[in-house]
Symmetry: C2
Subunit: 194 residues, 2 copies
DNA sequence: AAAATTTAAATGCCCATTTAAAAAATTGAA
DNA sequence: TTCAATTTTTTAAATGGGCATTTAAATTTT
């Protein structure tokens, strides 16, 4: 148990510091020294624990992805119907814990880098595939086949687009309203009489 | 007339090179020398014409924004109804000229940097405000007040989200299908019977 | 005593921007 | 037209700075 305690603590601390530092300064510009300073450590210790700046960013995004996944599964467990489960995905995306300017910033930085960093590209692909498959599973019970993919892409793009804008936001985010809006959008897409 | 011919030509060439180079390597990583090489020039000449790397990026994004604006106005001029004009905005966004992996890449890089570079933030704000006002104008004729903003935000987020994903795309984009899907999404949002 | 953790300092690179000088284009007077 | 004078364009080389990562040694924990 006590085996690798400090290691875990440092990982946690450095990832937290990375989230804050990358949000404040931008991934391209932030330095190892700045991140380390936020965690009360030295740049060298980041390399001791993570190996490189790139691997630190990778670990940080993995952490955010895990939080997203857990937020989704929590809500999934409580949902009783396909519709509820669909909403669970949306609610997770805009949950109080995740829908913050800080984290949305990280995602946008991540999206910008992913095409140029294979390991980040893989993470992006994994995350996207997971969300896609949840959406497909629930939408198949809610919509005829000829609309499913359109609605799925619309919802996923909507979530990304809102995060994107949140990252540029000067004002406080309102997760409660974001969830309400997301539900409205989903309902509009689901109940069309075209 | 012949006044500043070369200046204009070089601006054009260097902006084209920037689009290609930033797409290929990422804004954070691409060097002045690489951009210059693509244009058959030297890094120093970029500074002669643009002053700095940041101002080059700014000019490049201004150029992309102008293209988007023009694509929209072209279609606007032909549209006869609010619905047609709404579609004009969507079609412009996914027009053959603009909806390319190269350009979507640039936008994502831009979104990533804007929060940290005041001049880019201003550009982003200007562009967004313009699209917002077009959408509002047309939606006010198409929807009751209580749905307008929800649908507007949904459509704008959708457009951004699709570009975001396009930037990660390994395969060729299909602007014709993108326009068709965008229309479907808009129609679903407009005709809901909730 | 051994292993794990920490960091100061060294290393090695890379790059935007400036400078100074050359090359090319333009002008205008002869 | 012609050719010095002037202006514009171009770049090689210098400048100055920054930073990720490594190393080697010290410190702390086990």
């Amino acid at each position: 148990m006590g085996r690798t305690r400090i290691r875990d603590i440092r990982h946690q601390e450095l990832i937290e510091a990375t989230i804050t530092a990358v949000h404040q300064r931008g991934y391209a510009v932030v330095t190892m020294a700045e991140i380390a300073a936020l965690a009360g450590a030295s740049a060298a210790s980041i390399n001791y624990y993570f190996g490189s700046k790139e691997r630190l960013m990778e670990a940080t995004m993995r952490h955010l992805m895990t939080m997203l996944k857990e937020a989704m599964l929590e809500r999934y467990a409580l949902a009783k119907s396909p519709h509820d489960r669909l909403m669970a995905v949306l609610d997770a995306n805009f949950s109080d814990r995740l829908y913050t300017i800080e984290q949305c910033s990280l995602w946008v930085q991540f999206w910008g880098s992913a095409p140029y960093v294979p390991t980040l590209a893989r993470l992006h692909q994994i995350n996207r595939a997971r969300v896609t498959s949840h959406f497909r599973a629930e939408l198949s019970a809610l919509l005829p086949e000829n609309r499913r993919e359109t609605v799925r892409v619309a919802l996923q793009s909507y979530m990304d687009g809102v995060w994107l804008e949140a990252a540029q936001s000067a004002v406080r985010l309102d997760p409660i309203q974001a969830r309400a809006e997301a539900r409205k959008v989903a309902d509009l897409l689901l109940t069309s009489d075209v």
